[in-house]
Symmetry: C3
Subunit: 319 residues, 3 copies
Amino acid sequence: MIALDVLAQNIGIEYDGVSIPITAMNTLKEAQYSELSFIVDKKHLETLKETQAGAVIVTEAFVDAVPSGCKILLVASNPYLYMAKASKYFAKLPLESDGSVAEIGQNSVVGDNVFIANGARIGNHCIIMPGCYIGTDVTIGDTTILHPNVVVYRDCSIGRACIIHANTTIGCDGFGFAHTSTGEHVKIYQNGNVVIEDDVEIGSNCTIDRAVFGSTCIKHGAKLDNLIQVGHNCVIGEYSLLAAQVGLSGSTELGRNVVMGGQSATAGHLKIAPFTTLAARTGVTKSIEQSGQTFAGFPFMDHRQWLKLQGKLGRLLKK
Amino acid sequence: MIALDVLAQNIGIEYDGVSIPITAMNTLKEAQYSELSFIVDKKHLETLKETQAGAVIVTEAFVDAVPSGCKILLVASNPYLYMAKASKYFAKLPLESDGSVAEIGQNSVVGDNVFIANGARIGNHCIIMPGCYIGTDVTIGDTTILHPNVVVYRDCSIGRACIIHANTTIGCDGFGFAHTSTGEHVKIYQNGNVVIEDDVEIGSNCTIDRAVFGSTCIKHGAKLDNLIQVGHNCVIGEYSLLAAQVGLSGSTELGRNVVMGGQSATAGHLKIAPFTTLAARTGVTKSIEQSGQTFAGFPFMDHRQWLKLQGKLGRLLKK
Amino acid sequence: MIALDVLAQNIGIEYDGVSIPITAMNTLKEAQYSELSFIVDKKHLETLKETQAGAVIVTEAFVDAVPSGCKILLVASNPYLYMAKASKYFAKLPLESDGSVAEIGQNSVVGDNVFIANGARIGNHCIIMPGCYIGTDVTIGDTTILHPNVVVYRDCSIGRACIIHANTTIGCDGFGFAHTSTGEHVKIYQNGNVVIEDDVEIGSNCTIDRAVFGSTCIKHGAKLDNLIQVGHNCVIGEYSLLAAQVGLSGSTELGRNVVMGGQSATAGHLKIAPFTTLAARTGVTKSIEQSGQTFAGFPFMDHRQWLKLQGKLGRLLKK
């Protein structure tokens, strides 16, 4: 928690209004009265008008749309950069030294050289293999298995009957930076978490980024192969199947039973309809609205079209 | 070991024949009399007729081809799904609590925070760096080096004079699931192992999947770079060279001296002839029978054809 | 250190000249009088004429260009192979058992199950999370954070205010081999290191190879996402941004503020001009000299050309 006027001063914004205690940052839509938000793009103008945030970082252009009661941190330009600077003041320690002793359920086995932080809760009949790291306040459901050297950053949760393979990282920071006018990058602290539902299997050496705000989510029954990247704030739908070396950019949402072939990938901020199939190496560049289709190629297209294109290219080659 | 009638009941198959003890599952071709197998596709019909398996899961269509003496678990449809359900009953524990104490050879150095399970045998003059995990019954040959935080799952074997770099995972589960009619995935337990022959080097953060039955194999003198995925039941031929971020889908076999450029990949169940060269990013979609050729592109083609295609596309662009 | 005549005998070169002590191997350009070098390609002939190396491995063709005072190890063919054989004699142990006790600065926190080798120096206010491995003579600057299970091989250095995420490997061997006439591979020992400057962030499960000679370098303020491969002897310029699953082949140099999209990659030995932007999946096959441009595709081309090509392909498909 930090006082609004102190925060403003720390990040270089002049502010002489009433100060309130700020507990966190959040999106305009999700923010509560004790939270700070920001607006970058006018497409969020309507959301700004209804925000419950206690304070917002805005440029002059948006001042009139700020609801009464919401404090205003006014900047000349680049609210995104100031948001990044502010995010640092809400970053938690990687590991808390105090807090309650971790709880470990009945019949759970914890291997040698495992580190379990304070506040963690591990269910019954779990197997935590040697070399794992379980961060502060992590929860793990019954019968889940973590293979050796899995790392789960603080505040993440893993459901029941999950299997996480060796050397996988859950809850590392998403890749988020604001940029200065001289080309430097200011870290946006990733203060959200990862939520993995029940019956999920994740392969080895995967990386599942924590959310910047809120949660990155892998839903019930989804199965991920090895060396997969899941960006911050992604949602992977129920029973989705992701083959090895798949990459999801941030904030992309897969519906249920999406199948992604090896090395396929998506851009960020997309929605992929349920029961979509993406062939190996597909690169999805925009949202897919109709469910049940199959795609291929980069840029991606209907799979039959892609096959036809290969035929056309074959003929071009023979000319 | 489980009695056939108990197993049938557990996975929901009616069976009132003679019960026999079943020790494992295996392919039709490899199964012994104490093992259970299954048939999904009529292309394996001839193999079914000669199987040595003690029991098979079949649909009505294949019953007549089952050899006498082989017990029949009859299902209405989807033997693959029942095979998956059965595989669970042959899965070993990730880590055995009993068994003989691990043997460590003369002049071998074992670092701090290393876990070596019972039944493991480490040769002479090995270096096992800190943080490594060596599972139950793993064998490691003389003079081999495991860099920090390498994980070797149970039952795998690594030959002499190998170098395995940090954070690599050997023997994690292959990505195998059967699917229910409502889109759920049933894990096929991966009860095989990984066999790495002598003089193999594997880079950092690679994932080498264990076989579903039998062994995933990396042969003598092969060299793998970093962040490589090797699917279950693959065979990598002698002296093959795989550059970083290569991906091999399951059951693909490379001949000797195959060279794969960075980010290249293969589909599953292919055979790649010896001395094949695959340019960076090549995506191999069918078997390569003639040795000594060079390929590029996705879908892949002869490398000279690919260069010619780029020329054609360049001219298309100028039209 | 090894005597030149002993080294020659070990690697199978006849040598009856004066012996000198050899301390290391190096490039023709960088080698000092106590170092051994080699020449493979006549494009380095002028460099050979001015080398300060104490000895060189050459074929008959280059003998006349060797400066007086530089000893000659003459081979019939393939100096590269003999260089590889020689490199083994300069390889350091992965971990030294002697040397001074590691120094850990004020207010630094070292987690459980961390291994810090002799000769390492960790600055003030650092956080080294559980399960990390810090090799012999590694240096880490003030306020740097290593998340759990990070591995830093010997002799590498990490600057101030860096963040390295979990399961990342820094300083593993580059992928370098010489090849015999019968297709076997002889390891070129990677005797260089990795130097990471200040304010660098590296994601999870990345692999940063050490240099064969000299240093792989990640410069001030660069930010790397997850699952990235950086080959030996690469230089990543100040404030560069690399998205997830990027791959850099060996000896490629990025200027400052280069942006690489997800899964993009470069061939080796290239120079990429400052302020270059590479779209996702771009495959860079030759050097980029003019700064500030945007590219896409594989083979790569100007981004607008790539968009135009997609339009042309779309029309081809409709014909």
